[in-house]
């Protein structure tokens, strides 16, 4: 006798998705992570648009990742055009990424995921039990937004990022505002670590996680020219320009969604993979928290929430360092690096809060986009999430869990990826 366990409409994720599992006795015959978000077709829509217009359009793929989409799009164009941006530009973009990471992780860990772990339907109900934790999370979220607002001109869909640099470089008094907020943010991070100590992390699935992330060249954790994927203890390097050999996007019959497999097996991108590959570079309070909470290699996918919290602390500390250095050296009101339009092509990857984001463009001689490819973290994670959902059901059934418990666990596992369904432009509704 087969039966179906399903989560019809996944709550507390960005976008519209559901989970369907078909069980035959104690065997799992089917696991689908369905997505019924409307088709958005960005890669087709931007064809024929100018290189100056394209970034403002692709930003709209996703609100919460809009700084990541914008800056990755610009880096792709800069790589294609052969532009070198200044160290100041690189530094300010790194700062914006810390803001995005703080905002996104504070939102996901404390507003979207924590209610699950503590058995609340929403953050509103959670605020009744832990009002100070919720206020702390909102303050950190606000700090992340303030960084994005000051560097990018707007927290959602930034306006200040242009090819070769910035429309306007942030002024000293704006950086001073950030320094004050970051000092308070560090105090909130200490509180966050205290709260983490009191939270029992669900431990119902034990399954290896194959990790991939951008290989950072310096302390800028989210930027690099190569990807790394961890096979056992071996690190395999793949140049970003050859990212398709990693992502191998293909159609799958069951869900009408493009999936990614590297050498026929799924992989994961995101906070836990980043810390698995590069966590040894982290020091300070984040480094201590990492040692205390994360055992690497980690085989409990729910720990991605904790990895996000550790990264949030890292981002507050790293942002503080950047702001202090910028204030010490002073910022220069420099113009964006000039460029001449020519036929060219390029690719770039950066690690955004949910994992590695890949872009590539072909540009024609008039400076119009001839083709575009965008591969979001959530699209890459779909295959891996299905593997983890399958393991969750299998291990749940063999431990004697009932269907209602398994259904609850499925939602927790799916949410642990912090899926951004609006973002996965490759993914369409299953009929």
């Amino acid at each position: 006798m087969t039966r179906t366990i399903s989560v019809d409409h996944l709550a507390r994720v960005e976008g519209h998705g559901g989970i369907t599992v078909v069980v035959d006795g104690n065997e799992v015959s089917k696991v689908d992570l369905d997505v019924f978000e409307g088709i958005r077709l960005f890669e087709g829509l931007v064809r024929g648009r100018t290189i100056e217009d394209v970034t403002g359009i692709v930003s709209r793929i996703c609100a919460i990742c809009s700084h990541g989409h914008s800056i990755t799009s610009l880096q792709t164009l800069e790589n294609a055009l052969g532009i070198q941006v200044t160290p100041q530009t690189r530094r300010l973009r790194d700062l914006a990424y810390q803001g995005a990471n703080i905002e996104s992780h504070a939102l996901h860990v404390f507003v979207l995921a924590l209610p699950d772990i503590l058995g609340h339907p929403s953050v509103i109900s959670l605020a009744g039990q832990l009002p100070d934790a919720v206020k702390m999370a909102l303050r950190l979220k606000k700090l992340g937004n303030a960084i994005q607002e000051i560097i990018g001109g707007r927290a959602v869909h930034p306006v200040n990022y242009v090819i070769g640099g910035f429309g306007r470089v942030p002024a000293t008094d704006e950086l001073l505002v950030l320094r004050g907020m970051l000092q308070e943010g560090l105090e909130d991070c200490k509180r966050a670590v205290e709260i983490l100590r009191t939270i029992p992390i669900p431990d119902f699935v034990n399954e290896p996680i194959r990790c991939a992330a951008v290989a950072p060249e310096d302390e800028a954790f989210f930027f690099g020219e190569n990807m790394e994927i961890l096979e056992g203890s071996k690190r395999i390097k793949i140049p970003v320009s050859k990212y398709r050999t990693l992502t191998n996007e293909h159609m799958v019959a069951h869900s009408h969604a493009k999936h990614s497999l590297y050498e026929s097996r799924s992989y994961m991108v995101g906070a836990l993979p980043r810390l698995t590959l590069n966590g040894s570079r982290i020091s300070g309070l984040a480094g201590q928290a990492m040692k205390e909470f994360l055992k690497i290699p980690c085989t409990n996918i729910v720990m991605n929430n904790i990895a996000q919290a550790v990264e949030m602390v890292y981002s507050v500390e790293h942002a503080t360092k950047i702001v202090n250095e910028l204030l010490e050296s002073g910022t220069v009101q420099e113009q964006p690096v000039p460029y001449k339009v020519h036929a060219c092509s390029g690719a770039a990857a950066t690690d955004v809060p949910r994992g590695t984001l890949f872009y590539s463009y072909e540009v024609d001689a008039k400076g119009l986009i001839a083709s575009a490819d965008v591969i979001t973290p959530t699209a890459q994670n779909l295959s891996n999430a299905e593997d983890q959902l399958r393991a969750t059901v299998k291990q749940g059934l063999s431990a004697g869990a009932d269907d209602a418990t398994i259904e609850q666990r499925l939602a927790i596992v799916a949410r642990a990826y912090d899926p951004c369904i609006s973002c996965s432009v490759h993914v369409v509704r299953a009929s």
Binding site: I39, R40, R60, S66, P121, I124, R168
Partner: protein
């Protein structure tokens, strides 16, 4: 009893729901003044049937499932507020493309995709399907505009939204005119205000994300842009990025 409200997202980037959550300073006060009973983006337990005082809806209608959901929201709500440019004007999902939507699907998903079974067509604004009581434009809707709308509506009033162009806010901030003195193709003259002239404040030309101002003279701005040596096809694409369906309607 506190008024019941619902918050919904159709197809889009989630920008309005994010900007509602971005009202960090006001969020707990808002929760104190209203009862958010249906908000799938924020809660796993929702009341999907009872009568609502206000429904806030972001995103555009991209398929039959969303059209049905929107009808259901309308039927149970006293007031329906369209939040953001996708809900108000169709947004980026409705922008012009070089080829038809079925061809676009082939470009993005290849020839092997089961394209026939997918819903196709440009995204549409809410007003194509239901009565919209208040439209707050913006890509994204500004957080402040949401707070203002909530407080006005709770007091039985309709918020006054700007009916003038971005240029007015730009002049009040004494920014240099990018169109006149820098020769940049700035859409400020035909775009409705409400953003505080964000882009010009960063020396960046307005891209029209708040949608067209009432009685926008598109023919005139196209001619001005043409003098900046932009080809007409690019000018039209640029000016129709966020509100193509509404501009088409005005032309009819």
């Amino acid at each position: 009893m506190k008024p019941k409200i619902g918050i919904y997202g159709l197809s889009g980037c989630w920008g309005e729901q994010i900007n509602i959550l971005n009202c960090e300073d006001e969020l707990l006060d808002i929760v104190g003044a209203v009862d958010i009973v249906d908000f799938l983006g924020g809660s796993s337990v929702n009341d999907t049937e009872s009568r609502l005082a206000i429904a806030f809806v972001e995103g555009s209608v991209a398929n039959a499932r969303e059209e049905k959901e929107l009808q259901h929201i309308r039927n149970r709500s006293d007031l329906l507020v369209a939040c953001g440019s996708c809900a108000c004007f169709g947004g980026v999902g409705a922008m012009d493309a070089q080829v038809s939507r079925p061809e676009l699907i082939k470009q993005v998903y290849g020839n092997n995709g089961p394209a026939k079974s997918w819903d196709i067509g440009p995204h549409k604004p809410l007003s194509e399907f239901v009565k919209v009581d208040l439209a707050i434009p913006g890509c994204p809707m500004e957080s402040k505009a949401f707070v203002k709308a909530v407080s006005s509506l709770l007091n039985g009033d309709v918020p006054l939204l700007p009916t003038y162009p971005v240029c007015l806010e730009c002049k009040m901030k004494e920014y240099d005119c990018l169109l006149v003195s820098r020769g940049l193709p700035c859409a400020g003259p035909v775009t409705v205000a409400g953003c505080g002239a964000r882009c010009p404040g960063y020396n960046v030309a307005c891209i029209g994300c708040h949608g067209p101002v009432d009685e926008a003279n598109m023919g005139s701005i196209e001619k001005i842009f043409e003098q900046k040596e932009l080809p007409m096809d690019q000018i039209k694409l640029k000016l129709r990025t966020f509100a193509a369906p509404v501009l088409d309607k005005e032309r009819e």
